[in-house]
Amino acid sequence: MRGSLYNAIFAAGITLVLACLMLGVRLGAEGTTLTVYGAGADRWEWILAGVGLVFLSQLFSTQLGRLSSRIPRPDLGALKPQDATWKVIKPWLLAALVVGLLVWPFMVSRGAVDLATLTLIYIMLGLGLNIVVGLAGLLDLGYVAFYAVGAYTYALLSEYFGFSFWACLPIAALLAAAFGFILGFPVLRLRGDYLAIVTLGFGEMIRILLNNWTSITGGPNGISGIEKPTLFGLEFSRRASEGTQTFHEFFGIDYSSGQKVIFLYLIAVLLVIVVIYLINRLMRMPIGRAWEALREDEIACRSLGLNRTVIKLSAFTLGASTAGFAGCFFAARQGFISPESFIFIESAIILAIVVLGGMGSQIGVILAAIVMTVLPELAREFSDYRMLMFGLLMVVMMRWRPEGLVPMKRPHLELK
């Protein structure tokens, strides 16, 4: 008891020191001179409450630990039906899900569909980064660079050469993959944490280049008026440009701006399904197994004759090409892109999605992407605290549940 009392006083004192100068006072400019304001009484009450909380939680830490171990953990595995029935249900469930995804947008508001499209972009990014971080175990902190490459590929090709969205989609993926290859080839020989820093630097470099290469990328002003995708040449606008036809004229229905939003949403659904399918196949191929094996034990893999550079490079390039895909679609959806969309925080958000969902787990990443995009929309009044919460969440998850919300499971057989 005495030890924990000492501990509690110490922890409370530390908390007070941490809070007093950063929370207790505030720098502000009065005209041109700098002044210091003391915080109001209500903020000090919060600080003291926090100090008290730390004190009590440290004082009763053993009791609290015992209490929390008694709380039964929900067994999510039990919710899943037996293997035999699951096999029968699964295709129906998937079919119902796809039909639901396709029908759903016609029944809700435009804003909801728009948000769903954004969520789908993040799902795509999350799945791509999941290959790199989750499966291959390579920490990529500059993932947003490949996203930027994809977005700018479409924007520039369509502005200068009049390429269509559909033609740019594979080009963007290929170009992003090429960038991934060029960066990855020399760097992947290095140890994991160096890779993290180098990719981080690369992400910043791409952003600085986009910002300063004003003659081509428009610098900080970005590129606007990017063409929207068409459906086999049918445009989704009120009036057709010369020599083309619009969607509503072709089908003889009234024009509504919602059509375009739903069309974009459907493209996103299509892209996400393609990405999920491809990654799912890849994971079951020898290369997918090699990714995970290499993540688990690099030395064992090398002694078994696996070429680590090729394996890592394939994961890195595939992840990059997925981001290129997503970037191309992002540019088409926004109609406007600027380097502001590709800052480090964006990489951190995608990383948080992968970590929160469970590294390697596709379902987990999809769920996490939904949570991470929909929650901030629902809690708009707390939007200032969004990044604070992201950071805290990453620390807390790593400490208590590093395997994520839905840990990854390998298909395996058990002897009974």
Partner: protein, 309 residues
């Protein structure tokens, strides 16, 4: 001297000034990496907090008046070191120690989370806009050349940065090489497990490295804050990245390496900014990082690491 060489001299002076602060921050990275082998991603944020605390203390004391400027700066330095060390200690205790021994990736992600958290914590509590302090130290020590061609100046502020850095580095070197604690630090860097077996509380030593690193970062925070005169909650990111580059450049894990790396990086940056468009000076820093990692991953003074099964 010709105009071109005067210009070059001025850039080298500027580069050494910035470089010595990079070196101060880089020591925090290198010491932590040398002992527990992790990149303390939140270190740049500690530097930023040091900057903020020193600004708060300086403004507060100057508003009270009746203090001499050197005393104000000295108190600000002490308070900033104290608070930043407490932050450094807490970050290690809360976010890193429970994860020690687990996968490297997990600790690194936790560190990134901590960095994002601290950045936004300061942005929320102090406001996310730039905070500017009127220059406190003006005038120059030395002027070379004439006004018509080009004048090289070494300002008092730059001299202050050099002197403080030099004193700090000397003190740190003496501490590491002479004191008992310093010897324990070196032992930990050599072999953590063995040091523990020999009866040294390694947890305490690890905490100590975080505290020392944070205190040095706070010194850099005060100096750079005064030098530039403007701070905001997001300066830690870039400064941290640069300092990490400096640590890798000199050989991560090596303290003299971090000092050397900081100076080289500062001068390189100043020279690029002088002869090329200055927007590209950050690109150069990262380009330098990638190049070193490719051709000499152990850095200038680093020892090659042996991979153990």
């Amino acid at each position: 001297m010709t105009e071109a060489s005067l210009y070059l001299l001025q850039q080298i002076i500027n580069g050494l000034t910035i470089g010595s602060t990079y070196a101060l921050i880089a020591i925090g990275y290198t010491m932590v990496y040398g002992i527990i082998g992790m990149i303390n991603f939140a270190h740049g944020e500690i530097y930023m907090i040091g900057s903020y605390v020193s600004f708060i203390v300086i403004t507060g004391l100057l508003a009270m008046g009746s203090f001499a400027l050197p005393l104000v700066l000295f108190i600000a330095l002490l308070v900033a070191m104290l608070i930043a060390s407490t932050y450094g200690w807490t970050v290690e205790r809360v976010a890193y120690r429970p994860l020690r021994g687990s996968n490297r990736l997990i600790a690194l992600i936790s560190a990134i989370g901590m960095s994002i958290f601290l950045q936004n914590y300061v942005a929320l509590s102090q406001g996310s806009r730039d905070v500017a302090l009127a220059p406190l130290i003006s005038g120059s020590v030395l002027e070379l050349g004439s006004l018509e061609t080009f004048e090289v100046t070494l300002s008092w502020m730059q001299l202050l940065i050099w002197v403080v850095t030099l004193v700090t580095m000397t003190a740190l070197t003496l501490f590491i090489s002479r004191s008992r604690m310093g010897r324990a630090c070196r032992a930990c860097a050599e072999d953590l497990g063995m040091t523990n077996l020999l009866g040294i509380d390694t947890n305490r030593i690890i905490s100590l490295t975080f505290v020392i690193g944070a205190a040095l970062a706070a010194i850099a925070g005060l100096l750079l804050g005064l030098y530039y005169g403007v701070i905001n909650p997001f300066i830690g990111f870039m400064a941290g990245l640069k300092a990490f580059t400096a640590a890798v450049l000199g050989g991560i894990g090596s303290i003299p390496g971090a000092m050397l790396g900081g100076l080289i990086l500062g001068v390189t940056e100043a020279l690029t900014a002088a002869y090329f468009p200055s927007e590209y000076k950050d690109v150069v820093a990262f380009g330098l990082l990638v190049t070193i990692l490719l051709f000499r991953p152990t850095g200038i003074l680093g020892k090659p690491e042996v991979e153990k099964v």
